[in-house]
Symmetry: C2
Subunit: 129 residues, 2 copies
DNA sequence: AATGGGGCTAACAATTTTGTTAGTCATTGT
DNA sequence: ACAATGACTAACAAAATTGTTAGCCCCATT
């Protein structure tokens, strides 16, 4: 549980109020989260399927991350009728789907520089330096 | 210092190797980081200017975040000649500048849903916009 | 009767991140 | 003589996140 009177919490709230960028990043930045969103978008939308894709994750941790994504309305949990034991699927909402291309562009940004794109300081990116 | 033999570290490495998306997010997800990138992109590229924009940050913390961004080549530090006390400016690299529009789109994503865009589970995800 | 899904939860421990305190340095203005 | 400025750093403390352990439930199959 977060301590509402801590500097840590207060600073986080300040950033959330300054710009939605900060809340957005905090939603996707938990361990495993963006990878979970990606796998669900690819159709691996069951608890056990996600476990298969992420062999090192524990069930406790996976359940926790899914619950947090659900709390931010990135996904919803749906029981699958007439399954024994009860099956559950995780479906991205439109809010979750909208995130997918943005995460893709982050992925691509990372790849380009990991693949050796030259890094330099632009001479004059905005006519102010 | 990170413990290289901890599960925490090993899992992080696993995600980094799985997709650059995960390293990319980890670069921008530290407290204050995306906001610092934004302010530098807007021309607030001095230590004391960033402090003005982020009144609650401590100098220790600001210096730490800047050093981490520098380690990831998002920005570089440049001494300003003939200043007393020594002035320093922080310049985004092309890698840093490339991040700016992606952070903008995250910001916009957050805003749209904060402003009340309806959230639902798309019947057919391919039709979502 | 025991095992194996499938999908969890609570309590706790380990690790990591963030924030605090108290300095430094070299010069200029009062 | 002394404070102020700009830009830090080391050592430590607080808080948050992540991972571990040990369980639960319900039904089907061996």
């Amino acid at each position: 549980m977060r301590k509402k009177q801590s500097s840590n919490y207060i600073n986080e709230q300040f950033l959330f109020e300054t710009c939605e960028r900060n809340s957005a990043i905090s939603i996707v930045s938990g361990r495993w989260k963006s990878q979970i969103i990606y796998y669900i978008s690819q159709g691996h939308n069951r608890f056990h399927l996600l476990k298969q894709q992420l062999p090192a994750i524990s069930e406790t941790v996976l359940a926790r991350q899914l619950k947090e994504l659900e709390a931010h309305a990135i996904l919803v949990k749906r029981e699958i009728a007439d399954t024994v034991p009860t099956g559950v699927k995780y479906l991205l909402t439109n809010k979750g789907w909208d995130l997918v291309p943005i995460l893709d562009s982050l992925c691509n940004w990372g790849k380009v520089y990991a693949d050796g794109k030259e890094i330099f300081v632009p001479a004059d990116p905005k006519l102010v330096q």
